[in-house]
C-alpha cells in the first residue's frame, strides 16, 4: 500500500489533487482512499490532504503519519511546516518550485523531484498570481516520478474531476509530466 500526503494552502486545490489521484488510481483498477485533514480551510492557511492506493481494498481508516510520498503544492510552506515529517527515508518528496532546495534545509536526503507547477499553471490561466491553481500540474509531475499512476489516467481523471477549465488543466498536467526533474537519493 502506498501513502501520499499533500501540503498546500487553502484555495490551491490540495484536496482536489488528492481526489483526482484517487480517481486516476481507480481508473487503473486499484483501490484508492483520499481524504483531507479536516481542519480550518482558510484561503492561504496551510492545508493537508492524504491518499492511499493499494491493489486490494484498503483496510485502515486513520490519518497518514509515515507517507511514502509527500507532495508540496506551495514551497513557501517549507518555512513554517515540516513537510517531510514521517516521510519514509526511501520515499519521494515532490516540490512545486523552480529549483532544487538545499536538502539539509528540507531535512530529507531521499529522492526529491521539482517542477515549476506555478509557472505552468499561470501559463495556462489557472488561478491568479496570488492564488495559482497548481494541483493538476503537480499531478502530471506525480504521474512521472511516482510510478504509481500513468499520465493517461491522470488526464482522464482531470477530464471529469476538475470544477473548471478541463483542457487547460490537462495541458498543464502533460507539461509538468515533461518538465519534472528528479534529484536521485544521496543515500544509497
Amino acid at each position: 500500500m502506498l501513502e501520499v500526503r499533500f501540503h498546500g494552502r487553502g484555495g490551491q486545490g490540495s484536496v482536489i489533487a488528492s481526489e483526482l489521484l484517487a480517481q486516476a488510481a481507480f481508473l487503473e483498477g486499484m483501490y484508492p482512499q483520499s481524504f483531507p485533514f479536516f481542519g480550518v480551510e482558510r484561503r492561504g492557511a496551510p492545508v493537508t490532504a492524504y491518499s492511499r492506493i493499494d491493489s486490494r481494498p484498503i483496510s485502515v481508516r486513520t490519518s497518514i503519519t509515515t507517507p511514502d510520498i509527500v507532495v508540496v503544492l506551495d514551497s513557501s510552506l517549507l518555512r513554517t511546516v515540516t513537510v517531510t515529517s514521517g516521510l519514509k527515508p526511501h520515499g519521494l518528496l515532490l516540490l512545486n518550485s523552480e529549483g532544487f532546495p538545499d536538502q539539509t534545509r528540507v531535512g530529507f536526503s531521499g529522492r526529491i523531484a521539482t517542477v515549476d507547477a506555478t509557472g505552468i499553471a499561470l501559463a495556462h490561466g489557472l488561478g491568479s498570481k496570488s492564488v495559482p491553481i497548481v494541483n493538476t500540474a503537480i499531478l502530471g509531475a506525480f504521474a512521472r516520478v511516482s510510478g504509481v499512476v500513468t499520465l493517461e489516467s491522470v488526464l482522464k481523471a482531470i477530464e471529469k474531476g476538475v470544477p473548471a477549465k478541463p483542457d487547460a488543466n490537462r495541458e498543464a498536467a502533460a507539461e509538468a509530466f515533461e518538465q519534472v526533474r528528479v534529484l536521485e537519493a544521496v543515500v544509497a
Binding site: 487553502g10 484555495g11 480550518v40 482558510r42 484561503r43 492561504g44 492557511a45 491568479s128 496570488s130
Partner: protein, 296 residues
C-alpha cells in the same frame, strides 16, 4: 501626523484565523473600538467561532462567550441578567452573530431578546451566506447571488428570493436603537457604536462584512466593494431611533448597481435584465427608505 479618526485602542488581537481581507474582522475591530474594554461578547456558531482561533488562544482582549447557533439572543439576556444580579452594571453585553445565525436559525432568540427589552447590543455581521461552512445560501443572501446551494445552471439562476430585510424585522420590535454600519465607513461605524453605548435598552446593528472567498473577488477589494455597496444604495447607511429613520450618508449621484455586481464573481452570470431587475429592487428600497425618513 493626522489625528486618528477612530479610537486607537485595539481590543481585537492580530494572529486570528480569518481569511486574508475578511470584512468580519474589521466589524469586530470597529465595534470594540466604539465600546471599549468593559464589554463581553457572546458569539454563536459562525465564522468568528473559528476566526477566534482554537484553544488555548483567543483573539479578543475582552471576554468572548461561545453559545449555540440558535440562541445568541438568549445568551445575551442571560449575561445581562447575571451582570445586573452581580452588580456589574456598566458592562456592555454584546451578541455578535452572522447573518445565518441571526436572520435564519437565531431569529426567534433575537426576537425574544428585543421583545424583552434586554439592555444589550446585538450585532449581525452580514457576509450574506453561511460562509464558515463554505458559502451556502442564507436568508440574507441577495437576489441572484451564486452560492454552493444556489448554483447557476440550466434550471437555477442563483438565489431566487430577495435578501431578508433584517432592519425592518428588528425595527418592528421598536428597539431603542438600530442602525446599519459598513466597514468602508469606519468613522460612521464607530460614531454609531459610541452613540448606541450611551443608550439603554435593546440596540441592533446590521454590519456589512464583505467576504473575498464567498463573494469571489480579490482580497484587496474588501473596502472598495464595501464602499460601492453603499454608494449604489445596495447597503444604505441609516439609523432608527425610537422609530424615526435618519439616513447617515446621502450622495448626489448614485452609481448603478451593475458596477457593484460586476465586481464580484458570485454575480458574474447575471444577464442585463437580471441586473435591471436588481436595480429596480434597489431603487424601490431606497425610495421607501426616503419615505420612512420623511415620516420623521
Amino acid at each position: 501626523m493626522a489625528r486618528l479618526t477612530i479610537p486607537a485602542e485595539e481590543l481585537m488581537r492580530p494572529g486570528h484565523s480569518a481569511c486574508p481581507g475578511c470584512g468580519a474582522t474589521l466589524v469586530m475591530r470597529y465595534l470594540l473600538k466604539g465600546l471599549g474594554p468593559n464589554t463581553i461578547v457572546t458569539v454563536p456558531a459562525c465564522c468568528w467561532t473559528v476566526i477566534g482561533t482554537s484553544f488555548p488562544t483567543t483573539a479578543l482582549s475582552v471576554p468572548m462567550i461561545d453559545c449555540a447557533f440558535e440562541a445568541t439572543g438568549a445568551s445575551v439576556s442571560g449575561l445581562r441578567a447575571a451582570a445586573d444580579a452581580l452588580g456589574l452594571t456598566d458592562v456592555t453585553i454584546v451578541g455578535f452573530a452572522g447573518d445565518g445565525g441571526t436572520a435564519d436559525i437565531g431569529l426567534q432568540a433575537l426576537s425574544g431578546m428585543l421583545e424583552r427589552r434586554t439592555d444589550a447590543i446585538y450585532l449581525m455581521y452580514d457576509n450574506e451566506a453561511y460562509m464558515n461552512t463554505g458559502n451556502q445560501r442564507s436568508g440574507s443572501t441577495p437576489l441572484g447571488a451564486w452560492t454552493t446551494t444556489t448554483p447557476v445552471d440550466a434550471e437555477s439562476r442563483g438565489k431566487l428570493e430577495s435578501k431578508k430585510d433584517m432592519m425592518a424585522i428588528v425595527a418592528a420590535h421598536r428597539p431603542a436603537y438600530a442602525a446599519t454600519v459598513n466597514i468602508a465607513f469606519p468613522e460612521d461605524f464607530v460614531r454609531k457604536v459610541e452613540k448606541a453605548k450611551r443608550i439603554t435598552g435593546s440596540r441592533f446593528f446590521h454590519a456589512l462584512a464583505p467576504c473575498p472567498p464567498g463573494w469571489r473577488y480579490s482580497a484587496e477589494k474588501t473596502i472598495a466593494l464595501g464602499r460601492l455597496a453603499t454608494d449604489v444604495n445596495v447597503f444604505p447607511l441609516y439609523e432608527v431611533v425610537d422609530g424615526r429613520y435618519r439616513i447617515t450618508r446621502k450622495l448626489g449621484r448614485v452609481k448603478s448597481v451593475a458596477e457593484y455586481l460586476k465586481a464580484q464573481g458570485r454575480f458574474s452570470h447575471l444577464t442585463e435584465n437580471e441586473i435591471a431587475a436588481i436595480q429596480s429592487e434597489v431603487d424601490a428600497k431606497w425610495k421607501r427608505l426616503l419615505e420612512l425618513e420623511a415620516l420623521g
